[in-house]
Symmetry: C2
Subunit: 694 residues, 2 copies
């Protein structure tokens, strides 16, 4: 009775939403934040009564930080830090990994070190950021709350702070395409048991490795953490068991503030991860296996915190290790598995741990999970706003994200093999291969090569998408069959479709601010058309042609427009309006919310004028730049570092299409052929029928 | 009656404080924040009922940002942004100045542009940050509130949020050195008129150009904004009148997002400053003067907002200018004046506008005012904690800060002359001097030289202190008369005592984080001893000698210690304690809170071990670095960029003493002679009597 009365005061879900999200871990939070930004009406439920209090996932990789920075921050209250900066303020940075092993003379010694994000990876935040999952979740919830204020009235349903209803248990869901809201889902309140049935256009199941959403759509029987219904979890039933703890530690082990892989001679391995708030995370290997004496040597899932601590002390020997407060402790066993399907009907989608599980050691899971939702959200947005083809765009979610998860599993296996039992010796990381080989060690060149490749992947920067309609790679159907050669991916281009745009600094002409080109358009659901115009004088006639092209009714810019009043997002969707266009009255700027344009000249901005540019360029006056800032990766000789980095000649210029998620979609020549190639590219997946359903 | 009852609920000042601060503008806020950080009990009053709502001072210069970053931020509440980052988030950046003038063919044209902080100035935040004074004040108040939580119970008096009592009117003050709390001050509540008398050790008058504190100690009669008592305000009674407004503006003037100096042919001048929140600040020149026809042409102090707007529209012609909301409007007249004394008794100190007034155009006033208090606070701290000589240290406040204010006034005059009437033409900024000279223009080389010098000063990086006990310059008494030559300021050194430490990036050995050396020790009241040890192998024996030196009872490190339990600050005062010293039990780290040590090796940290360093080095394990990060200002050839930048050879090394305010105090050789020179330097102003009064 008391519970019922209490629940009366609670906000309850409405009957219809655009999207239901089940699970408010990092992936669910990302989905909510993105979809809210795009203006969707979102019901978000989680079966936990609060955000994570301590522990769990904790590593944010460089590419994820780049994404978080791009998601940006809207004003919330004075003095509040935005999403990425808040996490960076609260966390600690891992910039190096140390390898510790027994040696001939010492029980334990540092045998080598390696940067966690090697310098060859061109990324601004060249470190792994560590902070506990609750801090990450709460950063998201505050930012979601802040953006909900921008939602139009018909999209804003009452909800708790951060839009997450707790504790709500998902029960089941079904899809009926004949309905306006095809998905029906049932939940109950975790305490009052009150049941709710809600309809929506989509449902996202990001409810973890034992996903109830997956079970609901897959069928099949409960196994030991896996399901074999319509969706199968493929992979190894690994028996690797880990004890994990976030603890205060006092030690004379010198690298306690670094990430370390420690292999003891006979007591197993530990991974050390520095943490915020004076904590350290220890992953203690706990396989149940027989020792040389035939007795069980390692503990399994029954290991207690004390057992983990005493094993940790053993492995740390001869160094001392004393424990203070424990913030979090857990023992778990995880298999390397991947879902055979991420969706069965393109209405109910799975992502995050519901689709892929693997060892936590590489700090990848949360990152890939968040990016699953980041990737899905803009596709749903374009489809629902009526500018993209549902049948083409939605299947790319599973295709692109599953390939990344598969890569992760491959990497996870390689990583485990490389570091299982023994770590590379110091001399294996030198160029003196002969010496190392003579001693029968792993080929150091191979090792370094593997390490580099892995670092590229673990940084998130190496998560590559393959050829499809969105990625105009040389082996894509569009490019392979394209009648004119050299129009897509013109000679010299260093950018690759399906990879993230390389970062670089430029000078913004409007205010001479030195800015990072990859962060100039914040996540707003739009494609970003970068016109690298090259030398100003040489660009003039081409700019005039491009202006004419954009004005023509057959250009992608005019072909693929949403219905009147429909925007790509509720924030970051306006252009600098402080300026009076001289043409005002006779000609209004003709923005298309799904395309943002950036113009970058190789000539310094002091040598040309925004006002002299063609109309369709100058209406994006806050996105006009000169490429005149030094970049150490390019060197002093290149006058226009960004052109040089992208492999675009300052004589010819080039056009780089970047997808709403920051991936390069297409690189085309800056000429009439290139303009037509843009039309061909967008025709591959966009839709001019303006059949917005939102 | 109602007012009295209401005031009962209010928090009232106590009877005794360490320091009273009158005025809660940026200078007063800075004083409060610094003194709170140092653990003082502070009464802070302001006669305004709230923080600034809009307008007023708004430009934060690069050096001030460096200081704000160094003041740091302590955790306040989850998601709250720290001091500097919060301001940077809220403001806009000015990186360029445009000059607009009438030309032969056009009514108004951009005749040149210049970077606001030219590249030759080595500073991280190479721009002026603009945001209105209230946002700045509130950032300070939140940070003060956050630090008050760290105060010991006997220093924490109840106070409103941010520690400012409002509205409190200062009445008068007097000093009696025979008392334990020599200063007595009287105030009354602005509404209830209730009177308070409070005693303190010091009183800081930062109550603006018409300072009541100045009047109280100076005597003299009220004049037109100046006083001629014991303290005289020296300078020009300028009749320059400005109309200032923060407004929304819509215009086709292309540089509305940049800082601009616009001179019209016959309607006067305007300075345009971009502002946060879509505003623009316009400084409209309003001198009352006769036009060519003998009639009054410009309006004076009686100018209304409409008059300013219509003048602005005139000056902007032929560009259109439409106004939206006005956030702030003011008309004011300011003379260039400087106080003859900043204090009469070293108990009541003046600072900020109470000591110097000048034109607001250069965006200097608030910066220099804040830095006045930043400079005074650490000196009061050392004196009150008993480790420095009152008679030597306190007079350096007026000496150092007055010289900067004098420099500012000189600059202000030069700036006005350079930009009065006409701005430099574009060709005067090119190397083609002949051409410009032929046309009778200002010598462009001279102009560029002047501009550079001015930019260095306006950035705040050129605020230089002269030789005194704190600044071991070649012409200081200490160095001039020092028996051994070449020990102070060793050959090759590029650092100058009395100037700020040049910034640079290094790798912190403890966690391999890439960090900025100038920000590694946050403002904690301590001197920072940078041991640039050079090559690791070559440094070994010198490090061992330095270790022995620091252990000796005659070293500055042991000579100048506060009483037991007295610390230099309440935050940023601990060293990384996660580590168990192998010597623990037999030997405890012997920290002196007034000295922090940083060790920087030219050899990468992967080639040496913290554990192998001498005890007195290794106890500062969080401040041990390798100098292995590329710096474009040094170039690719230098292996150790920071050593190279500082002009310290990697063979010999060097020791750089940085004052608690980030200024270089002394540079000495890294050898026994240098160690003794450190003793001589600190003997010049520090005190071993441990006569702490706090």
């Amino acid at each position: 009775m008391a519970a019922t009365e209490a629940s009366k005061a609670e906000i309850r879900p409405e009957k219809e939403y655009d999207v239901i999200i089940v699970g408010a871990g990092p992936a669910g939070c990302m989905a909510d934040l993105c979809l809210t930004t795009y203006g969707f009406k979102v019901l978000h439920v989680d079966n936990r009564p609060t955000t994570t209090e301590a522990g769990r996932a904790d590593g944010i990789q460089p590419r994820t930080l780049e994404v978080l920075r791009n998601i940006g921050a809207v004003p919330y209250e004075e003095g509040k830090a935005g999403l990425a900066k808040r996490m960076i303020n609260q966390g600690v940075r891992v910039q190096e990994v140390s390898f510790w092993d027994p040696t001939e003379t010492e029980k334990l010694a540092r045998t080598s070190r390696a940067p966690s994000c090697p310098d060859f990876i061109d990324v601004v935040d060249n470190y792994t950021l560590l902070l506990h999952q609750g801090l990450i979740e709460r950063s998201f919830l505050d930012e979601i709350e802040s953006r909900r204020a921008f939602l139009p009235a018909n999209k804003k349903a009452p909800a708790p702070h951060g839009n997450v209803f707790r504790p709500y248990e998902f029960e089941t869901c079904s899809t009926d395409e004949s309905q306006e809201y095809p998905v029906s889902a049932t939940f109950h309140h975790g305490e009052t048991k009150e049941q709710f049935t809600v309809r929506a256009k989509y449902l996202l199941g990001v409810d973890g490795a034992k996903s109830l959403v997956r079970r609901a759509i897959s069928g099949g029987q409960v196994g030991d953490g896996e399901w074999q219904g319509k969706i199968r979890m493929l992979g190894d039933a690994s028996d690797i068991i880990w004890g994990v703890m976030d603890v205060e530690a006092k030690t004379d082990f010198p690298d306690i503030m670094s990430k370390c892989l420690i292999h003891s001679r006979s007591d197993g391995s530990i991974m050390v991860i520095p943490r915020e708030a004076g904590l350290v995370r220890l992953y203690v290997q706990l396989q149940a296996e027989a020792g040389p004496d035939g007795k069980q040597k390692h503990y399994g899932r029954d290991a207690t915190e004390d057992i983990c601590k005493s094993r940790a002390r053993k492995i740390f020997e001869p160094f001392q290790l004393e424990f203070g407060k424990t913030a979090w402790f857990s023992v778990y066993q995880i298999g390397q598995r991947i879902a055979s399907n991420y969706t069965l009907d393109h209405r109910v989608f799975l992502g995050g741990d519901a689709t892929h599980t693997h060892s936590p050691k590489a700090g990848q899971g949360m990152n890939i999970s968040m990016l699953d939702m980041y990737s899905l959200a803009w596709k749903l947005n374009m489809v629902e706003k009526g500018v993209a083809s549902r049948d083409i765009l939605l299947p790319t979610y599973e295709q692109e994200r599953k390939s990344v998860a598969e890569e992760l599993l491959k990497f996870d296996k390689a990583y485990s093999t490389l570091f299982s039992g023994r770590s590379p010796k110091s001399d294996q990381l030198t160029a003196d291969a002969t010496k190392a080989k003579a001693r029968g060690a792993v080929d150091p060149e191979l090792f370094i090569e593997t390490f580099k490749k892995n670092a590229f992947f673990t940084s998130g920067c190496g998560a590559i998408y393959f050829a499809n309609q969105l990625n105009a790679l040389p082996d894509s159907e569009l490019v392979k069959d394209y009648p004119k050669k050299g129009v897509f991916n013109p000679e010299g281009s260093n950018l690759t479709a399906g990879q993230r745009l390389l970062p670089g600094k430029v000078t913004r002409a409007i205010d001479a601010n030195q800015v990072r080109i990859q962060q100039e358009v914040k996540m707003n659901g739009a494609f970003r058309i970068h016109v690298l115009a090259g030398d100003y004088d040489k660009s003039k006639s081409k700019l005039a042609s491009f202006d004419k092209f954009l004005d023509s009714s057959s250009s992608f810019f005019n072909m693929y427009r949403p219905k009147n009043g429909v925007s790509s997002s509720i924030v970051f969707n306006t252009h600098e309006t402080r300026h009076i266009e001289p043409e005002r009255g006779s000609r209004e700027p003709n923005y298309n919310p799904f395309f943002d344009f950036l113009y970058i000249f190789a000539t310094p901005h002091t040598e040309w004028d925004i006002e002299a540019l063609p109309y369709n360029a100058r209406i994006y006056r806050e996105h006009i730049y000169s490429d005149d800032i030094y970049d150490r990766r390019v060197g002093k000789d290149a006058k226009a570092a960004l052109h040089a980095k992208y492999g675009i000649s300052t004589d010819k210029g080039g056009i780089v299409v970047v997808r709403p998620d920051g991936y390069v979609g297409a690189v085309v020549s800056f000429d009439q052929d290139g303009f037509e190639a843009l039309n061909a590219y967008f025709a591959g997946f966009m839709s001019g029928s303006q059949r917005a359903s939102l």
